[in-house]
Symmetry: C2
Subunit: 170 residues, 2 copies
């Protein structure tokens, strides 16, 4: 049976940000997977790092480094920028968090370990950020680059617009 990129492997519920889902469950699943992956990679999921991931997993929004820092400081961790930036850097490097450049912000990855390269759909009304499967998009981008002899190492694809719920409300 083919794996559905947008469904929770545990309960089958869709974990797409815009879909109604048991978020506490989906967040817990992702956190557990991240912990396991870190262990496998010999990387240390320390208290600060875990807490940052948890904070980003609270909802499907992207948070600025300083928002994260404020939360950390309130909980007794350090209150200087490097504390947040270092944890975020670690999480991004290991694929547990995505950086949303358009927002100068960070969002938890909902598919850790899947080596995906999603497109980000940012709702300008409710601020939710969803990861959309973007394999065809990457393929087209790769083709465009190849046509001019350019070799891609990393790329970011971000779209700003309205999610289904907010569109319905308007």
């Amino acid at each position: 049976m083919p794996h559905d990129h947008n469904a929770c492997p545990d309960c089958g519920l869709p974990d797409l940000a815009f879909a109604v889902h048991d978020h506490a469950h989906c967040a817990a699943q992702v956190l557990a997977r991240a912990e396991a992956l870190a262990q496998d990679a010999g990387a240390r999921m320390t208290p600060v790092r875990r807490r940052v991931l948890e904070i980003l997993l609270e909802n499907h929004k992207a948070l600025g480094a300083y928002d994260v820092l404020q939360r950390l400081a309130a909980e007794g961790f350090g209150n200087q920028p490097p504390v947040a930036y270092r944890a975020l850097e670690f999480l991004v490097e290991h694929g547990f968090v995505h950086r949303i450049r358009r927002l100068n912000a960070f969002a938890a990855c909902m598919h850790p370990g899947e080596d995906h390269a999603p497109a980000f759909l940012i709702c300008k009304t409710c601020d939710l950020v969803a990861e959309a499967p973007a394999a065809p998009v990457r393929t087209a981008l790769e083709a465009a680059a190849q046509a001019v002899g350019f070799s891609i190492e990393r790329s970011n694809i971000e779209a700003l617009g309205q999610c289904p719920a907010c569109r319905g409300a308007a």
Copy 2:
């Protein structure tokens, strides 16, 4: 005859950043087109704005707002950030300049008035930025968004890698 998105309409030379071309000519062409388009739109291409566009047209690199500002200040314009940011904002709004979010920088649009939505290819070795025709990429992205009910208003597609010349040198 079909229009070649990457060729200069005046002389047929390719204007892609990575291709060898008569850049002075290509820059002059783009500037002239931008001036005409601004006039048509009833927008005022003032000295600062024109100068900012000229600066960005000097080569195919992206410049930070403060780089632009430094140039402006040296030429007798104001030397405070808003001077640069306002001119850049105007140029971006009118499609004469693109914002490269990955670099926190701005690059002259080489196809003003074409209502295109390019993918940006950023060479990490020589810093050149090229606009690649990205219609298929947009189509794929649009499809991915539509699949989850998301409606895109604006999007940015940026790739980091190596241009043909730098790849050859390595």
